[in-house]
């Protein structure tokens, strides 16, 4: 179980969110919503332990994530950047990521076929399209056994078929007792009955704010 207690964050003297608390049970998904610049990515980075909140704490199985022994092993975080090196092929990229996260690297070839990258296994990722690069990153959803997924805009640049595949995978993960925290502007991909929505609504800035 992941829970957040009274999280607050200010950026450039603007309060993005304050006193946000929630807890996420196994089998549930949390959908973070809010307009651009509302602090969705910042929130996800705090939940993953990449950034610090100004106030409050994140607990994994009742201990703070910084001290938790198995938090990193239980987490699959896919950020804004796909973590795909453009010089390396999809297979090489995934081999490294699997080694980093103790995932099973043997099924990489099968999964690349499954996500529609058959025939591109040995092409440098830089020669692939944005959607294909995103698919490389998302392959990890099939390789990883982590119970907690934190995904930042996973659907960016994906086509309809890939979105449908992802929707199926989300459902599978939740049915198996996994946890999911997502920001997306296409909330339909999450099963309605298992999803909690969290709206981040900081006051509208007077001038255009940076994300």
């Amino acid at each position: 179980m992941l829970s957040a207690r009274r999280l607050s964050l200010a950026r450039q003297s603007r309060q993005l969110f304050s006193d946000v608390s929630f807890s996420l049970e196994p089998g549930r998904a949390l959908l973070l919503q809010g307009r651009n610049g509302a602090g969705k990515t910042s929130m996800l980075r705090i939940l993953a332990g990449l950034s610090q909140a100004d106030d409050g704490q994140v607990l994994w199985q009742d201990s703070p994530i910084q001290q938790s022994e198995n938090f990193h092993a239980s987490l699959l975080y896919l950020g804004h950047q796909p973590a795909v090196n453009v010089e390396l092929s999809p297979t090489e990229n995934l081999r490294y990521l699997c080694a980093l996260h103790d995932d099973n690297a043997e099924s990489i070839a099968n999964i690349l076929v499954a996500v529609g990258l058959a025939g591109y296994e040995d092409v440098p990722a830089g020669q692939l399209s944005a959607g294909q690069q995103r698919r490389i990153a998302l392959s990890r959803l099939w390789l990883s056994k982590a119970p907690l997924w934190i995904l930042d805009e996973p659907l960016t640049a994906l086509d309809v078929k890939a979105v449908a595949g992802l929707e199926k995978r989300f459902k599978q993960h939740l049915d198996a007792g996994g946890m999911l925290i997502v920001t997306t502007h296409q909330p339909a991909v999450l099963p309605e009955h298992a999803t909690t929505r969290l709206e981040l609504s900081c006051p509208e800035p007077e001038s255009e704010a940076s994300a």
Partner: protein, 221 residues
């Protein structure tokens, strides 16, 4: 252990794919060295006199040149976040990354150095001292440089800042390395200087990975 090997494998592959990252510092090194005889004049005694300093300064600058890219691509494409979120993240994993930098940048410089010494007319005993000083001191350069690289990776166009941070820390290496070569050229014992350089490297190898890890965490925030 697998993570270690996979990290080294990945870094090696990246160097093979993007050769300019390694060739740039090497070409720079040889160009600087080859310009000196043209600028100072080809008199062997003058060249041999300034050779230790010139060669070592060229080494420092070439290593500097290669440091900016150490974490840059990983920072941009998000790989660094994944590294920091790995259950294996720790000084050991960072060490693997820096070790591959040393292998890919410093070892080629080491191999080319006899050629540089030939251009500068370095005497055989001084050449031995020079090679030994490069061998024991370049790990310190990679390690200390990695701290600066990790601190500045989040800053766009960090070249100048990186030099300002790192070059002062390279100065002790420069002083003792050139002192060793000078001593060798005068047939004096130089083991003392070499031992100091080796101590410097040993301290850097054991301590800087922790600093690099902390710096990367700050940069990714």
């Amino acid at each position: 252990m697998t993570v270690w090997l996979e990290t080294m494998r990945r870094e090696t592959l990246l160097v093979m794919r993007k050769k300019s990252d390694v060739l740039n510092p090497l070409v720079f090194y040889l160009l600087v060295i080859s310009l000196f005889p043209l600028g100072v004049g080809p008199a062997p005694e003058t060249l041999a006199r300034i050779a230790p300093g010139v060669i070592w300064v060229a080494v420092l600058l070439s290593v500097m040149l290669s440091l900016e890219r150490l974490f840059r691509d990983d920072y941009r494409d998000g790989s660094l976040e994944q590294l920091l979120l790995s259950p294996h993240v720790g000084a050991g994993l960072i060490l693997a990354k820096i070790l591959s930098h040393w292998l890919m940048v410093c070892v080629p410089i080491l191999i080319l150095s006899p050629l540089a010494a030939l251009l500068m007319g370095v005497s055989p005993p001084a050449l031995v001292a020079m090679m030994l000083s490069l061998l024991v001191a370049t790990p310190a350069l990679s390690m200390i440089g990695a701290v600066g690289s990790a601190l500045t990776v989040g800053v766009g166009r960090s070249g100048v800042l990186l030099s300002l941070l790192i070059l002062p820390l390279f100065i002790p290496v420069l002083i003792f390395a050139t002192a060793a070569i000078d001593a060798a050229a005068m047939s004096l014992p130089y083991l003392g200087q070499l031992a100091l350089l080796a101590a410097f490297s040993a301290a850097a190898i054991t301590l800087t990975p922790f600093a690099v890890l902390a710096a990367l965490k700050i940069s990714v925030q």
